[in-house]
Structure formats: structure tokens, C-alpha cells
Amino acid sequence: MTRTVGQLLIEDEAIGVPGAANRTITGTPEAVFAHVRLGDDGRYRPLSGAATLPTGWSAPLGPAFDADIAIETVYPLALTHQRQFAAGTLRVVPLEDVLARQSGRYESSAVLSEEGRARAAGVVCGACVRHPVWNGAACAPEGIPCPEACSVLVAFCREAASWQASPPPPEPPDPRIPWAAFEEPGNELRERYLQEMAEAHD
């Protein structure tokens, strides 16, 4: 039986992501984890759920590396959160609580406006295969529920808070810039946010 979780295709004897290439990865958590750390463009993927999994590979499944282990390797806690969400026991934490508890470098994330938080969540979570149930998103049984804003979204909110008073002008997205380098002009998520912000205020 074939099924998908996020971008991952799970077959009886292998998992992987379809694509033009046809690379075989050793069927161990360590090998698969190392492979999915980088996207097709070679950039580091700090967010496991980012829809940037490398394509064109598969890894054989076996007793020591079954489908559940494989899924948890690529999407940590995905199955745990699926089970807890289905059972109604998933501990869901709203964004306002996550931002309010920050200190130090990320304390300023809490001053981001409601509008900014919604836009930030749209941009960051829109790039992720997990479903932000903390934000009221729906999640089908085979989907991956996200119970709490991740550190990437918090970091993005911190940057977005700094853009509130005087937003920098949007620049062309530059796919060479690290995925989570939100302070760098050209970062794709940054530019998407600034573009939406500019359009909203036109």
C-alpha cells in the first residue's frame, strides 16, 4: 500500500521522495536524517516540515528501519502528534503564549501586531507541511498537526517586529540566501512577508 505523509512517499518496502533522480539512501535513521538536512538546492533545512525535502531518492525499509521510524526521522514527533490529535490529548499552545514567554534576543517578538503575527504565520507555516492546529487550522487524519509555533516562526516574528515601524523596501527573492536568514535582504520568506505588507498598505 502506498501513502504519503508530508512530502514523503511510503511504500511497502521503501520510503522516499519522487523526483528526476533515483538515488538510494542507506535505510538507517542516521543516513536518512543526514540526507534530508539539505534541500535540492544544497541549502540547510532548519525546519523539518519545510516543503523543501530533497527529491529523487528512496531508502529501503526493514525491521530496524520501519515506516514509523522513517517518518519520525524525517518529521520528528509527527506520529506522536497525529495520535494525540486524534485522541484529543494533544497539548496545543497558542502563538501569543509562545511569544509572551520569550526572553533575551526573542523578547521583542511579542511586540509584533496581530496583523503581523497572522501574516508571519501565513508566510512561515505556508512553507511547511505541518498543519498549525495551534492557529485553528484543520488537519486530516493523515496530516501532521503542529501544536505550537516553532523556533523558526518565533525568529521570524522577531524580525517582523523590527520591520513594523519602518519596513525595509521589498527586494527580489534570492534563493542563494539561507532559508532562515530573515535579516538578509532577498531571503525568500522575508521578501514574501514584506511584499504582502506593502500590498496591504497600498
Binding site: L77, T80, R101, S103, G104, P147, C150, S151, A155, P178
Partner: protein, 242 residues
């Protein structure tokens, strides 16, 4: 049995930052002394706040893979993991929280191993290189304490602390030490941004060994990447609060 929860900083920008934590976790899983070995990170996944989701062990020991007892171990980790202190009782689960691996006195032995692996001889100087900070003096004290233990071992002519971000600065280390060869051991968890990139660049290092004005500077990998750190983690977990 006990579940071991290793917590690290991780990074949004550097894929190597969390590598030592994953490596030590893999080692400890193979040894099989814990019911399970979990990992969690401030800036990667699983997050600190969710890493115990689904963990049903009655007994959990949380060991921070951090170099000193400071902002992260005192504020961020307890807050994110909802810990009450050294001992947390929650939903029938006992969660014990230890000090960081970097402040455990046995880490001095790992520093010595690193130096010896880099070819350190009895006549050489060992520079224990810490980050240092103007905010948190406990971090500074820990680097000095480790250097003192290395010195007390009597295995080298000199041993002392130098810092990336405070005095005595690493750029002055050839004035701090008299020995012809100075072996620099970075007291960092990973060969990440600082230990792997900025420090070698700032010191104008040319690899593992660099000649400067008739003297030799040897630079080792970060202490936190040494395989024997797994034994330090086991020791800390074993001494966790009862």
C-alpha cells in the same frame, strides 16, 4: 529504566551545530543503558517544549549539552521544558535536570585528551579557549576552572584560559603563554560558526598547525565533539538528583 533527554542549542543557519548531540545520542543508544535516548533543541526539532511529547517513561533525566551554566541552562531550558528545577514531578513522571556537560569536572579529562590527540607534549602550553561574555560571569568562571584542572594535572608546562569575547583575548595568547607550542582547545559544543569558522579565521590559522613568529599554534576540534563526551553525559545522568 530511565529515558535520557539530551538537549542542545541547534541552529537555524548551521547544519553542523547539532551534530555532536546527535552523535552522542547515537552512541548512548547503542550502549543500551537507557530505556530511550531523546534529543531536543532550542533552534531545531524536536523543540525543547515538545521533545517529551509521547514520552511515557516514569523516569526522565534531562542533560544539557551546553558548555556552561548560564542563560540557557538557567532560563531557557527550564522555561521551555516546564521544569520546576532539579526535580519535576508531572503527570506521574519524574523529570530530573542536571547541570551542563561543560561544567562537569570530568570534562577537564576530555580537554586533556583533545590536547594529546593534537600532539601536545609536556613542554607545551594548553590554551582553553572559551566564548566568554560580558553578561554571565559563570561562563567565564567555568573556563577558568577547566584551565585550572588541566594545569593541576601536571601534564603540561602551562595551561590557562583565553576568550573569544573578553580578556585575556585569544589574539593575545602568544603573549599569555611562554611555551614554544600552544595547543588551543576550543571549549565549545560543536565545530560550528565560532569553533569551525570565526576563530580559525580570526587567528589566521592554516589548519591543525600554524607557525607564527617562530612558535607553533595547534588547534583542536571542539571539546563537545569528542566521543568521550558520551561518558561525561552518562556520569551526569547517573548523578542526577534523587
Amino acid at each position: 529504566m530511565t529515558t535520557l533527554a539530551l538537549v542542545g542549542h541547534g541552529s537555524h543557519l548551521n547544519a553542523n551545530s547539532s551534530a555532536p548531540v546527535h552523535a552522542h545520542a547515537a552512541t548512548l543508544r547503542r550502549r543500551g543503558r537507557f530505556e530511550d535516548v531523546l534529543t531536543g533543541f532550542w533552534k531545531e526539532e524536536p523543540s525543547l517544549s515538545r521533545m517529551l511529547d509521547g514520552c511515557t517513561s516514569a523516569d526522565v533525566v534531562v542533560v544539557p549539552v551546553f558548555i556552561s551554566n548560564g542563560y540557557f541552562t538557567k532560563t531557557v531550558i527550564p522555561r521551555e521544558m516546564r521544569l520546576d528545577g532539579p526535580l519535576t514531578q508531572r503527570d506521574g513522571q519524574r523529570i530530573r535536570y542536571t547541570g551542563p556537560v561543560g561544567a562537569d569536572e570530568s570534562l577537564a579529562g576530555v580537554i586533556i585528551e583533545r590536547a594529546l590527540e593534537a600532539g601536545a607534549r609536556p613542554e607545551d602550553a594548553i590554551a582553553v579557549l572559551g566564548h566568554g561574555t560580558r553578561r554571565e560571569s559563570e561562563s567565564e568562571r567555568n573556563v577558568y576552572a577547566m584551565a585550572k584542572r588541566v594545569r593541576a594535572s601536571g601534564r603540561f608546562a602551562e595551561a590557562g584560559a583565553v576568550f573569544l569575547d573578553q580578556e585575556p583575548g585569544m589574539l593575545d595568547m602568544l603573549e599569555v603563554f611562554r611555551a614554544g607550542t600552544v595547543v588551543v582547545v576550543p571549549l565549545f559544543v560543536a565545530d560550528g560558526w565560532h569553533a569551525g569558522q570565526t576563530i580559525p579565521a580570526d587567528l589566521s590559522l592554516e589548519g591543525a598547525e600554524t607557525r607564527k613568529g617562530g612558535r607553533i599554534v595547534r588547534y583542536t576540534p571542539a571539546v563537545g565533539t569528542h566521543p568521550s563526551l558520551a561518558a561525561v553525559i552518562e556520569r551526569l545522568a547517573g548523578s542526577a538528583a534523587e
